[in-house]
Subunit: 178 residues, 2 copies
């Protein structure tokens, strides 16, 4: 239960991927980078990050959190049924799922936002509302196991919240369900 | 005493600047980005970061830590007497000074490494030794107020150590001197 999955594709917002990547390691968690294939992907500015797993390799039993950075990557990931399925299953199992900036596009595609409070990059605010979410303009919004943020400067609040939720979960008896 | 200075120039290693930038904010500290001039600088991969101060604007009285990321930036910063002086004064005052990767070039230039244990990117190891430092191949080396690391994957240890040292310092009575 100490694993974290960071979902990427080419075009991820560099810091929105790299900050949680190292932050979760700093918190003592084992971070796995999940891509459409194994190998190196590049951020919007070209920062390289190696995916060591694909969705087919993921066993959610051992996963404490799933994190979805923004940038152009979520627009690509939402077209992959295996990525979308992974996100839906994680939310349904009550795993902490964090999405920032354009990351909530994957939550929309997974159909998990109806009636849930959430935030996102301002440009996709209408899509979030159309998917049934209750939009809030805050640096971090927590609705049960779904954690969302808007922009890179929200990263301290976003990551701090994720670390606190995961640590609370990994030190308490397991509960299944959102 | 809750201010952190992050020293940059063009070509900073993107994550080595951005991780401490947000991590120190997450720890409740006020981060100021110090450049050769005010304005936006770009990392090795092009990530933008705005400097809001120059060395002339810095009052070390209120500073808890100075952080020097790697990349090509330290090679530029070491040619600027005001940057070098800032680093030397910070070390002499006992302020926590962290440098990662090529960042220790600025410590070499400031002449503060003689007899101190330190680490750095492997390529500048000889320079570190020639400057009188005792090189150690560890992910983070602490010698009194000087904290050094080698590469981006050391960032969790580097930042975790800096946060712990600054928090210890900001909650204890002030001591002057290294």
């Amino acid at each position: 239960m100490n694993k974290v999955l960071l979902l990427i594709e080419n075009g991820f917002e560099d810091t929105e991927a790299m900050y949680p990547y190292y932050r979760m390691q700093e918190a003592g968690l084992e971070v796995h980078v999940v891509g459409p294939s194994k190998g190196t992907f590049h951020g919007k500015y070209g920062y390289p990050l190696r995916a060591d797993m694909t969705p087919a390799d993921c066993d959610l039993e051992e996963v404490a959190a799933v994190i979805i950075p923004g940038g152009h990557a979520p627009d690509r990931m939402r077209t992959r049924p295996d990525m979308v399925r992974l996100v839906r299953e994680a939310v349904e199992r009550g795993i902490v799922v964090g999405a920032i900036c354009h990351g909530p596009l994957l939550l929309i595609e997974a159909g998990v936002l109806r009636g849930r409070c959430a935030t996102c990059y301002s440009g996709i605010r209408s899509d979030l509302a159309d998917a049934g979410a209750l939009y809030e303009d805050s640096k971090v919004v927590v609705d049960r196991n779904i954690v969302t943020s808007r922009i890179p400067s929200d990263l301290p609040a976003f990551a701090g919240t994720l670390v606190a939720m995961v640590q609370k979960k990994t030190t308490q008896p397991e509960k299944v369900g959102g």
